[in-house]
């Protein structure tokens, strides 16, 4: 049991050790850093439903050359729900971008403008071809429910840099929850203090219970101020004769923190102070990009104020009408809409972080649960592909303009330097100053890690 868990669970017997300083967010977590970090914070962009690699970042001329021919990679192809169709080139054209000359599809012209800041990993594998388990895997490293997400692990390890805001924030897609729901950002068996705070940006009540509902007319500013001061007084009186129980003191401190959160949260969520140029940069001026733009801009504001890990979702569950990247039926239409909504805000986020000098120690991490097949499903869609797909990183010590690993000529299977999310997580933790093999928590007989028993730091993409 580490010191912090010990304090949380058994604070009762510690005689004189107050928890107040831990709650006050002095910036240390259960482990603290293992080595000098390059990154301090992370924003993860999660494409729910499986974004296609061969329509975005994984350019394969063979698909254009063999368009319409039978898909024959030389082995039996096992698909999620269909039989392999014909070779289907991307409905979008491809161009080279940046100093590095990276080929990017015309679906994402703005992101293409940032390629010199991005490290692409093209050789990802997933351990499941099913959304639920695979989405769990990208979030928690396990294909089963009940494990802590990367954000919870990082919050557990490093604590907060903010006195007023939570350590781990999630901005779900307003269209709904992704597959697995809130379990994707669960704290699992880690103490509940590390669970994510969900912010429904742009709604009247973005944080659950931040304030009493307007219908509670008996509450006003005076009743609140005097009430909290009275509460502190009686809690202090209760403490007399119960000295040494740091949990009691921690609860007193928790109301001070709550009050600070009430003040700071509305400020951080209020985008009105942002300049017209910034709002444009994120696409807030267009209906198509406004939602994603608002959430990416909110993410920057949260990171700026010390939030450790922000997760932004593009896409909800796999239902109909299509509201995520699961384009089994009509890829051009569905990827087209989601890609366009995503492209400018994400590019805006990278550029904005860069211009503020924050990209140096902020990681932007783009990922999805698996990829899609280079052959068609039916006539216009693509089925799942767990054998080779793309994630990318920008900032926080990642190299720019590099590509790591590769799929075969079809974009079907990772053949060069295949990796799992374990390796991505190991690399991410490494840049945050954490050794992924030492960040563990004993649960049900096993020292659990975000990287299970796997994971290698991918040195080639780290500067």
């Amino acid at each position: 049991m580490d010191r912090r868990t010990f304090l949380w669970n058994w604070g009762g017997g510690l005689g004189g050790v107050a928890l107040a300083h831990l709650l006050a967010g002095e910036g240390r977590g259960a482990t603290g850093v293992h080595h000098k970090p390059k990154a301090k914070r992370v924003v993860q962009l999660f494409m729910s439903g499986a974004a296609s690699q061969c329509d975005t970042f994984d350019y394969k001329p063979l698909l254009i050359k063999k368009a319409g021919e039978a898909f024959d990679p030389g082995e039996k192809v096992e698909l999620f729900q269909s039989n392999p169709g014909v070779v289907m080139p991307s409905p979008w054209g491809w161009k080279q971008h940046g100093q590095c000359g990276k080929w990017i599809s015309d679906l994402l012209p703005h992101t293409a403008g940032c390629v010199d800041d991005i490290a692409f990993v093209h050789s990802l594998l997933a351990k499941s071809n099913v959304h639920g388990p695979a989405t769990f895997m990208q979030n928690t490293g396990f294909i089963l429910p009940g494990f802590p997400s990367a954000g919870a692990w990082i919050s557990y390890a490093l604590g907060s840099e903010s006195k007023d805001l939570p350590e781990f924030v999630v901005l779900p897609d307003p269209r709904g929850m992704p597959p697995n729901g809130a379990a994707n950002w669960s704290a699992g068996f880690l103490p509940a203090a590390h669970q994510a705070t969900t912010i429904r940006a742009g709604t009247p009540t973005p944080i659950y219970d931040l304030h009493a509902p307007a219908s509670a007319k008996f509450i006003n500013a005076d009743s609140e101020r005097e009430g909290l001061s009275l509460l502190e007084k009686v809690n202090r009186q209760h403490l007399a004769g119960r000295e040494g129980d740091s949990r009691l003191e921690a609860r007193i401190a928790s109301y001070e923190m709550a009050a600070r959160l009430q003040l700071s949260a509305p400020q951080v969520l209020d985008l009105n102070g942002e300049s017209e140029a910034t709002r444009k940069l994120y696409g807030l001026d267009s209906e198509i990009t406004a939602d994603m733009g608002r959430r990416c801009l909110t993410a920057r504001r949260l990171l700026e104020r010390g939030v450790r890990f922000v997760q932004v979702w593009s896409g909800a569950d796999n239902g109909f009408p299509r509201r995520n990247w699961d384009s089994h039926e009509n890829l051009e239409k569905d990827h087209g809409e989601l890609g366009t909504a995503l492209d400018k805000p994400v590019a805006g986020l990278i550029k904005d972080l860069k211009s503020r000098g924050m990209l140096e120690d902020t990681v932007v991490y783009w990922t999805t649960e698996f990829g899609r097949m280079p052959c068609s499903q039916g006539s216009l869609g693509r089925d799942h592909n767990p054998f080779g797909f793309t994630s990318w990183f920008a900032g926080g010590g990642f190299k720019g303009g590099v590509s790591y690993g590769a799929t075969d000529a079809w974009s079907y299977k990772a053949v060069e330097k295949p990796v799992y999310c374990y390796d991505l997580h190991a690399t991410l933790l490494h840049l945050l100053g954490l050794d992924h093999t030492r960040l563990s928590y004993r649960h049900n007989g096993i020292d659990r890690r975000l990287t299970d028993v796997h994971g290698e730091v991918i040195r080639e993409i780290v500067s």
């Binding site: 949380w8 099913v130 509460l231 796999n318 239902g319 096993i446």
Partner: protein, 814 residues
């Protein structure tokens, strides 16, 4: 200079003075590395290159390339040489071993490759040692006698008994999960009988509130939830009969052996008892991957993986809950620390090879129940003969059929994607697609018919006809109830089909379903001595579960009896004698009071006959339980975390108790027992259903029920409860954590439920004085009357009541 310091190091090393100079242990350090990375290919069972690395002797003997191990000489030991270099020869797959791991192996060999695992008498871990009932060391209450011994060794004494108000609140919240009413407090305080406390304990244990409280603990341990989890997190609207079974089992004080048998194999061992049938809901308590089971076709890797992991969840649940062992650690390789070979783990999987999780019918009337179950077994037998013919039709395939399938699916996808067509062009397109699909299906049928031939259809018709009289009998029976449980026979849903009989289970290298090593046969943990862990590989899956149920419930199974008394102790005292209640292995904690634990385990099994209520009575009547929780400097200095129990532990109310206590104090608590769970959220069915807690009226029908009757969603847990450390229903939770956060404070201040209850509480109390009495069970002091009275006068009673719900006095139990 350098030379001198080097020499010093050598000297220190030789004298064993450097920290790392302790010799490397084969059992604790070397074997885990080998188990994880090498034994998959080089085990006794599966010696690649005739080489087994399963024991020190086998390594010395070696394989086709000669000995792998030469004690004292890492240079001549192939074991380490093959791991070294830029491109090490071993392991064949995965990353190379780390420099640290290789150095460890080298040092062990250099030190003589000592075998501390297989010595003349291998050390038996405490939890697996024979269970003997030690003599009670002294007079008085046995629990106190054992505790006193350790306390006096540490120069400590127990604390004085707590006051009566504290005691009754402690007992109520512990045994009922609810605070006592004012009348109950006053009556107890005024009770002059010398048996006042004991009588109170008896009254509390006789109340149905007891089962509602303690069943919740058990539901934590077994990760009971009422939706599947994963993608498409559908509600399980018929899981609750199991929850009611658990409450009733505790209230009726079911002997623990029966408690075990009914949950693992109640349908088989007690066929005349419908309640025992419901008890097997236990095996289905955990999450279930809807898409993997219901949408994936037979034969896909992910399909097999889904099934294997589903059995893994059942094995982990059963073994960690009843035996406090981490058998699930042996899925990918032999357990690294405990004597659980992979074979044992897969033998446990083989016990559950014939079941899936599904709803099945049952009847409260035992006669009707037996009749229905008999008829369903008859249907199962018919289905078993029918299935091969159905498979022949279903699996018939030619390249043309494959093409047609794609075309049929394509039409379906495009139609779904189109939604309701809005233009003429769309309508025409939809019509075209529908027509194409009809044509394709017709052609497909013709092709299949040609392959399977009319004799297949004739056989199908012939066998299906056998269902008719059975179905007629079933139709005569009254409407059954449903329960979500483990079963081998249910109505097929999509690609989720009943196993009918046990599926083959094999040992899997690295847990990979495409790397079978050898067959598994039903069995249990071989490390438990004195109980036969090899079962008959019956084709009746129920017999396998019955054998496991009897193995666990066996009086000689030392793990079972130690596990349960420690769990019960944990909940009463706030920490177990073993502080890892679901792990009695080498990675778990050791008991602080091993003799006490064994005494209790033997007493519970033999004298108490497995009666939980007697066990509760034993523990809560001890002086240890009744002592004050006040901090003491002498105790804090010697034993800061109170492992010796020189005082009682103070606890924070659990999420359910916070909610139930608010309802009780507000005068709204609805004590209706049992029945379907209350959905305390807005629900909308969809691909992934919507569960929205913000859109729920805290005064809605059923909203005042106790928290154990809440509907428990896995994908989206109730944020209010979650913030109070209510565990994720997908996690096997042996003990809850207590966290304190700003977000939690906000929930207690502002959640609509709290505010609404504050309104009801204010209405009930009327005055500040009465509110203090109701919330804390005591008179207000003069100072409080003034402070609270003034606040209520200015801001109203509701604000005061909201504040009282936020006090530490309300939220903690002394």
């Amino acid at each position: 200079m350098l030379d001198t310091s080097m020499r010093l190091v050598v000297v220190l090393f030789a004298m064993g003075l450097l920290a790392h100079a302790e010799p490397v242990s084969y059992a604790r350090q070397v074997r885990p590395v080998l188990a994880e990375r090498c034994l998959v290919c080089h085990s006794e069972r599966n010696p690649a290159g005739k080489l087994s690395l399963g024991s020190v002797a086998a390594m010395a003997k070696g394989g086709v390339s000669g000995p792998a191990l030469v004690a004292g000489s890492p240079e001549r030991s192939l074991l380490v040489q093959s791991l070294k270099g830029d491109k090490p020869r071993m392991p064949k797959s995965g990353a190379a071993l780390s420099g640290q791991q290789v150095a460890l192996l080298e040092r062990w060999i250099a030190e003589g490759a000592k075998d501390d695992a297989a010595g003349a008498a291998p050390e038996v871990w405490w939890s697996l040692k024979p269970l003997r009932k030690p003599a009670v060391p002294g007079a008085g209450h046995p629990v106190d006698a054992f505790l006193r011994q350790r306390l006096s060794e540490a120069g400590l004494a127990a604390s004085p008994e707590a006051g009566r108000r504290t005691l009754i609140r402690r007992l109520y919240l512990d045994l009922h999960g609810l605070p006592p009413s004012l009348e109950e407090i006053e009556a107890f305080v005024a009770d002059r009988s010398p048996r006042a406390y004991e009588d109170l304990v008896d009254r509390l244990l006789a109340s149905p509130r007891y089962g509602e409280r303690w069943a919740r603990h058990w539901l934590d341990v077994i990760h009971y939830g009422e939706s599947h989890g994963y993608d498409k997190d559908k509600p399980r609207r018929n899981a609750w009969p199991y929850r009611d079974w658990a409450i009733e089992a505790l209230n009726s004080d079911k002997p623990y052996a029966e408690f075990i048998r009914e949950q693992v194999a109640g349908d088989v061992l007690y066929p005349a008892n419908p309640k025992a049938y419901v008890a097997t809901g236990f095996l289905a308590a955990g999450p279930w991957d809807f898409v993997g089971h219901q949408e994936l076709k037979e034969g896909l890797t992910d399909k097999d993986n889904t099934r294997s992991l589903d059995r893994d969840d059942v094995v982990a649940t059963v073994v960690s809950s009843f035996s406090s062992m981490t058998a699930h650690c042996a899925r990918c390789h032999d357990h690294k620390f405990d004597p659980i070979p992979q074979q044992d783990y897969y033998n446990l999987q083989a016990v559950f090879a014939g079941v899936d999780r599904a709803e099945t019918p049952f009847d409260d009337d035992p006669t009707v129940h037996q009749k229905r179950q008999g008829l369903l077994r008859a249907k199962r037998d018919i289905q078993l003969r029918l299935q091969p013919y159905l498979d022949k039709v279903e699996l018939a395939s030619t390249p043309e059929i494959v093409k047609l399938d794609s075309s049929i699916q394509d039409a379906g996808l495009l139609i779904v994607h189109m939604g309701e067509p809005k233009t003429d062009a769309d309508r025409a397109k939809k019509k075209m697609l529908e027509e194409r699909r009809v044509e394709d299906r017709k052609r497909r049928q013709e092709l299949v018919d040609a392959i399977v031939g009319p004799e297949t259809y004739a056989a199908i018709e012939r066998i299906k006809a056998e269902f008719v009289p059975v179905d007629a009998e079933l139709a005569k029976l009254p409407k059954p109830r449903l329960v979500y449980r483990a079963t081998g026979f249910f109505t097929r849903m999509g690609n989720f089909r009943p196993p009918l009989e046990p599926r083959p289970v094999t040992v899997l290298a690295r847990g990979n379903v495409r790397s079978p090593l050898g067959p598994a046969s039903p069995g249990a943990l071989t490390c438990v001595s004195g109980v036969n862990a090899k079962f008959t590989a019956s084709s009746e899956e129920g017999q396998r579960r019955a054998a496991l149920a009897n193995w666990i419930a066996d009086g000689r199974n030392v793990l079972t009896w130690r596990s349960v008394v420690n769990r019960v102790w944990h909940y009463h005292f706030g920490a177990g004698i073993v502080d890892t209640p679901s792990d009695f292995g080498r990675m778990g904690s050791k008991p602080t009071h091993p003799e006490l634990l064994d005494w209790m385990a033997a007493w519970f099994r033999d004298e108490a006959g497995g009666s939980m209520k007697q066990l509760h009575r034993l523990l809560v009547t001890s002086a240890a339980y009744r002592q004050s929780s006040k901090n003491r400097e002498d105790g804090a200095r010697v034993d800061a975390d109170n492992r010796l129990l020189w005082r009682m532990n103070r606890g924070r109310l659990e999420a359910e108790s916070v909610r139930d206590a608010m309802l009780a104090i507000a005068g709204k608590l609805d004590l209706t027992i049992g029945g379907p769970s209350v959905e305390m959220f807005f629900f909308k069915d969809d691909h992934s259903p919507v569960y929205d807690y913000a859109r729920f009226d805290p005064d809605a029908a059923g909203a005042y029920r106790r928290s154990i009757y809440r509907f428990l969603v896995r994908s989206v847990p109730d944020p209010f409860m979650e913030r109070l450390d209510c565990p994720d229903p997908s996690v096997l939770t042996a003990k809850r954590s207590t966290t304190i956060t700003a977000i939690q404070a906000l929930a207690l201040l502002n959640n609509p439920f709290v505010l609404r209850m504050a309104e009801h509480f204010a209405e009930r109390a009327g005055t500040a004085e009465q509110a203090v009495k109701l919330a804390f069970g005591r008179e207000a002091t003069a100072a409080e009357r003034e402070l609270y009275g003034a606040y209520a006068a200015t801001h109203g009673m509701v604000n005061l009541c909201r504040l009282l719900f936020n006090t530490n006095e309300f939220l903690f139990v002394d």
